[in-house]
Amino acid sequence: MELTVQDSIYWIKFANERIQSEKEYLTSLDQAIGDSDHGINMARGFQQSVNKISDGSYVHVSDVFKDVAMTMMSKVGGASGPLYGTAFLRLSSAVKEKNPLDHKVFVEGLEDALNGIKQRGKANKGEKTMVDVWEPVVTLLNKNNEVTAEEIVNTAKEAMEHTKKLVATKGRASYFKEKSIGHIDPGSASSFYLFESLAKVWKSGGQA
């Protein structure tokens, strides 16, 4: 696929719609193994991102991502704000001055984003964080450029579900140690919505 400015805007809008309707669910996940704010944080961050990018007129996809990054960084706080912020900032830098993005460029950008999260969060796969959704999805996209929307959704969903089985060693859930088992990681759930929304854009063949 190919990602245009319009696609990137739709991506964030779709993600925001999902996040808004799952706000309470995300917060309830964070109630179980965190501090009850992930839904509130994400709803604030995505809504304000959409407000911001709906106003602007963009030539480059990277500028859309930069505005999302800055909004996440300055309106969310907590762990998830700067992590999503860093992800979108790295993605933006990687695809700078390009428009539209071809599959390779976009996936390289996502890979940079994933690495940004890992560095900022000092986290690796298996620690029950959003990394556990990002890494399988990036790996899948890296494999080939024929990947379908369904494959993305399934991979992200499975990865999210898989976090149930993990013991948290990073973030607030780590205080629950073994008791974190059996609960989905909130940040993995919000990341799932993000990739599910990407798949929706994908499905329409890059033409949302």
């Binding site: 109630q31 193994i33 704010d37 700067p82 969060g121 973030g171 607030r172 205080y175």
Partner: protein
């Protein structure tokens, strides 16, 4: 949810307005932020001290802004670390050309956001140093995980570093006493009831009518054990012993004690806890140099308390005794 609030999404803004209205001569809001600074900041040639974190822990952190303690406190949304841009504004506002020192509670969000702010400030040529407070012995200390949380002991770090900075010490010197404080401070808490984040509208967890949770965090994060409510003496014993098992005290050592209410536990009960804490310390030959009983690092309206011990030497004692004008910690 029974709360005296207006819009649940505006609690932090409303609180800050009320705070500034209450302390108009000593505090000011840094424009376009939720950061509170000493009215006279930046104090020229003094190391500027910035702390902060999620809201809902009042009087932390704005209550510790004042001569002899912090220069600024940055308030995030309830239980959510403030964003890097806000912390960055606070750093700039208190920079008196002798560097800025950050006191950060050890939570992933706080650490990341404050570190990003430090990077922004350093890019402007401001020298920034930091200490990360991790006094909660309920959490295992491990370099493979997030590690221990920062809880009520943070207030001692504010006090000691603030006193040092007020003396005109260098950034390195402030950092040294802050780290010394972190090395010597330990806390442990327990809760009887949960609390409700205003925007969430529902309690963060639930406890049965005769259950308590030992080792709970100040955002309702899990503790060590859930069990039947014990007597105040037993609770005091459990919290104090857990702390004493984690740090060596020998007979004759001196300590500062903080018995901190988490929100809805009456001061009467905090003093009842202190009764037993002071007895235990006496039994062990540990001299109580100073005791602080009250609400210092709360968790909204959670019922429960924490005990903090700070092991003192001559330097820490004199810094603890130094004058402080902070509204919530006048000495």
């Amino acid at each position: 949810m029974k709360k005296v609030i207006n819009d649940p999404n505006e609690v932090v803004q409303d609180m800050i307005k009320g705070l500034i209205a209450a302390h108009p001569t000593s505090l000011r809001q840094i424009p376009n932020t939720t950061a509170i600074a000493r009215k006279e900041a930046p104090v020229l040639n003094k190391v500027g001290l910035v702390s902060g974190g999620g809201s809902g822990h009042e009087p932390a952190h704005a209550g510790y802004v004042g001569k002899g303690m912090l220069d600024a406190a940055v308030a995030g949304e309830v239980f959510t670390s403030p964003t890097p841009d806000q912390v960055y504004e606070a750093i700039k506002a208190v920079n008196g050309n002798n560097g800025v020192f950050l006191i950060i509670k050890n939570y992933t969000g706080d650490v990341i956001n404050f570190e990003m702010a430090a990077e922004l400030a350093e890019a402007d040529g401001i020298q920034v140093e930091k200490v990360i407070v991790n006094d909660d012995v309920a959490v295992e200390d491990s370099s493979f995980t997030t590690g221990r949380r920062g809880i009520a002991g943070t207030v001692f770090v504010h006090k000691i570093s603030g006193a040092k900075a007020e003396q005109g010490a260098s950034l390195e010197e402030v950092k040294r006493v802050a780290e010394k404080t972190v090395v010597n401070v330990r806390s442990m808490g327990m809760a009887l009831t949960p609390c409700t984040v205003p925007a969430a509208g529902k309690p963060s967890f639930s406890l049965d009518a005769n259950e308590m949770e030992i080792g709970i965090g100040i955002h309702g994060e899990a503790g060590i054990e859930r069990k039947n409510i014990a007597s105040a003496d037993d609770i005091a014993q459990e919290l104090t012993e857990k702390i004493l098992n984690d740090i060596d005290y020998v007979e004759g050592d001196e300590a500062a004690v903080m018995v901190n209410g988490l929100g809805s536990t009456p001061e009467m009960e905090l003093y009842i806890i202190n009764k037993r804490v002071s007895e235990i310390l006496e039994e062990k030959g540990i001299r109580v140099y100073k005791t602080f009983v009250g609400e210092f690092m709360t968790s909204l309206e959670m019922a429960g308390c924490s005990v903090t011990l700070l092991k003192l030497d001559a330097e820490l004692k004199s810094l603890l005794d130094a004058e402080s004008h902070a509204p919530a910690f006048r000495i």
